[in-house]
Amino acid sequence: MSDKEIQNPKSKIQNPNDFFELTTESLNVGEIARRVVPPGCGAIVTLDGFVRQFTGERETEYLVYEAYEPMALKEMEKLINQAHAEFQIENVGLVHRLGRLEIGETSVVISVAAPHRRAAFEACEWLIKELKRTVPIWKKEVYRGGETWIEGAS
């Protein structure tokens, strides 16, 4: 999968400082976080979700993420719009990586800028919870002796 195949559309969301993207490139957490900062904000909360080595006893070797790309982008856009409706926040950045990821590599970054920290924390937590429930992205876990597509809880 090359980045060229991923169609990241120009955002139709109301806030031009929001962004949502899929990429096969390495994610730079700090750079993504800084993109959401407007002058009227006093806090950013950033989630850096990365590949875990141990799930209980099982040791992961690497993960492969796959998305239904156009639908995933639509669902990411919906989440950002819903977050603005529910929380006092200024800007949201939502980037998910696809393809093969090694242990410790960042798979998802969610940055929320807000005038005050509480709304940023709450919105960030809500966004990752909803992303894991609704955005059509799947991870295949490859471990010693096997591999399995992880199926979500919902």
Binding site: G49, Y65, E66, A67, Y68, P70, M71, A72, K74, H96, S107, V108, I128, L131, K132, R133, T134, V135, P136, I137, W138, K139, K140, W149, I150, E151, G152, A153, S154
Partner: protein, 87 residues
């Protein structure tokens, strides 16, 4: 338009991750009778690829989650996948 073209329509069906493995393919075109309900179409797809039934499935119609009640149109894009696991 010929009678055949009137009474059947062609839709594409997409599979991802576990459902792509179960179906043994990522995409297929299937003919459905005109005015088929989405739920009927999804039922037929699962019947065609019985290994899909081992999974808890979600369905999408034209890149939106489907409740099954929609009517399928010619050229629609259906998708069958398992509960999502991004993040």
């Amino acid at each position: 338009m010929s009678p055949v073209a009137k009474s059947f329509m062609k839709v594409s069906v997409l599979f991802f991750g576990a459902t792509a493995d179960a179906a043994g393919m990522r995409e297929i075109e299937i003919d459905f009778p005109a005015d088929a309900k989405a739920s009927d179409a999804f039922g037929e797809i699962v019947g065609k690829f019985p290994q899909l039934a081992q999974h808890k499935l979600l369905f999408a119609l034209n890149q939106e989650y489907s409740s099954g009640g929609e009517t399928i149109k010619n050229g629609d894009e259906l998708a069958v996948f398992t509960a999502v696991s991004g993040g």
